[in-house]
Symmetry: C2
């Protein structure tokens, strides 16, 4: 049995898993990076990665040298050829030679890629997109992340910054987005976008159940509007209908562009399951350009959850 | 010297060229399909294709059997594996076995692809996208056509219907599009979209030079607003500024998704040259997600004009 080490770098945790040939995680570790809220220094992150790798190997009962490779999924623009994180401003480590530093330490091959790419590759290797020649994986979280699989490989673009589908505008002059544009897919279809629309609807409709739920829960979340809708609240229904409308708009754009065999959606919002998925599929089917084609993209919910990032990272030697 | 036959099927003409190894067209033919305005029967189109092939070969002084292959670019959904035009409703020939029928007739290999894909491949083989590993070619004509080159091959999608970038929504609930959606890139950035915006501005501003130009030219074209702008008309300037705004929005979406080395724009509107290209580049540079990357997509104007379709079709054996 061969083992592969997968590392998923997040803003608060670094998660590591030992993955076998069957894409199963046989051991794990998870270490907090820092919780000071300050931006991270690369040398501190590197130390935490090393500790997480050693801890996961110990848990698996192997030496690091027994693993075939280490794969690292990092936020930001990751040059998968040089193994350098070129640009990761929100974690504060630009031009960080992750591959070179970890290879020096552990003397086994190291692969680096963007975290959304790694997660998409995980879903392709052993999750909801398994076996698809072409697939797109879209994560509806704080932002809208995306990973594109073309011809069974990660598509990165010529400068490794491709796949930023969350930052394609669907509503020109629309809601401001963190990237500086207005009306991005992310501004409407992220969990953050859903919370924004929920809060706005609550303010405009004081009688709505939305406000009672916010009060009870102590905060507005991506679940609030769905809770209200399920309890029969008309405003909640309007918000979730609007959410599906924008999501269907962005997803139809992706399908008209890529016509992948499978398009997976993941992230916390997808815990709603069929209540989200069914109207989404219906809305997409009505407007997709290929509606008269015999074969159309299958829209499914991701199946690996947070493990996708670890498994995909571990399998980066195949990507 | 090897010769390759390229056929470009249009709504009114079928153009054929004999192309050499250097991607030069050494002989041509062009035959009207029908001008009755009725939809075309496949068997009639097939006859015209055969005549055009024979005529171009005669012009080149070769026998059809001396050519290595025939490549055909057709509107609609073209299955490049089976060589069948699966869906081409606006020309009225669905499920047409172009490859099988031409191979039976001419006894040389036949390749089929969508016309926008063929034109993009032509620009990649010998035009403005020559040598790029990843490129996107966008044609601003009656519609907005697109062809995607990934890893030096045409990207078609799993059902051969991919690359419909013209039918990605940039303005949710916006202007109606022929595809049934609202706010498509095509509805704003096609020549047709520019004419629509020009006419609207002319109606809203009776004093604008736009109206005088329409009167003088006998019609409103994609050139009208640019003519007015160049003559100092403020309304003309607003229309062309808006046109660039929407075009930059759609093109930035494409770059954020694909990060190609080169993005080519073609079609009649591009005859404006730098008056269009410079403000477009400026607007894209301001909003592209990779604005801090060392390497960014080069935006250029297509260099082959209508020949791109013939050259790309002739070279489909490499696509």
């Amino acid at each position: 049995m061969a083992y592969y080490i997968g590392v998923d770098i997040g803003g608060t945790n670094i998660a590591c898993g030992i993955v076998n040939d069957s894409c199963e995680i046989i051991a794990r570790s998870k270490i907090k990076t820092n919780s000071s809220g300050n931006s991270l220094a690369y040398k501190d992150v590197l130390k935490v990665i090393k500790s997480a790798v050693i801890a996961a190997c110990k848990e698996a009962g192997i030496d690091v040298s027994e693993a075939r490779s280490i794969g690292v999924g990092s936020p930001g623009v990751c040059n998968s050829e040089s193994g350098v994180v070129e640009n990761c401003s929100n974690l504060g480590f630009d031009n960080s030679p992750v591959k070179a530093d970890l290879e020096e330490e552990f003397k086994i091959p190291v692969y680096l890629d963007n975290d959304a790419n790694a997660a998409a590759f995980g879903e392709f290797m052993s999750g909801a997109a398994k076996g698809a020649k072409n697939a797109v994986v879209i994560t509806l979280g704080t932002g809208v992340g995306a990973g594109i699989i073309i011809d069974k490989k990660i598509y990165r673009g010529s400068n490794f910054a491709g796949g930023e589908i969350g930052h394609t505008v669907i509503a020109v002059d629309g809601a401001p987005c963190g990237c500086g544009r207005r009306g991005c897919f992310e501004a409407y279809s992220s969990a953050t976008g859903l919370v924004r629309m929920t809060l706005m609807a609550g303010e405009e409709n004081p009688q709505s159940l939305i406000n009672a739920i916010i009060k009870e829960d102590g905060r507005c979340s991506a679940r609030t509007a769905y809770k209200a809708m399920k309890a029969g609240d008309a405003v909640g229904k309007t918000v979730t209908d609007d959410y599906v409308k924008y999501l269907a708009c962005g997803i139809t754009n992706v399908i008209n562009t890529f016509q992948p065999e499978i398009l997976c959606i993941g992230g916390g919002v997808c815990n709603e399951g069929e209540i989200l998925l069914n109207p989404l599929k219906e809305a997409v089917a009505k407007q997709v350009y290929s509606k008269n084609s015999a074969k159309n993209t299958e829209i499914v919910i991701c199946s690996l959850g947070n493990d996708a990032g670890i498994i995909g990272a571990a399998m980066l030697h195949k990507a």
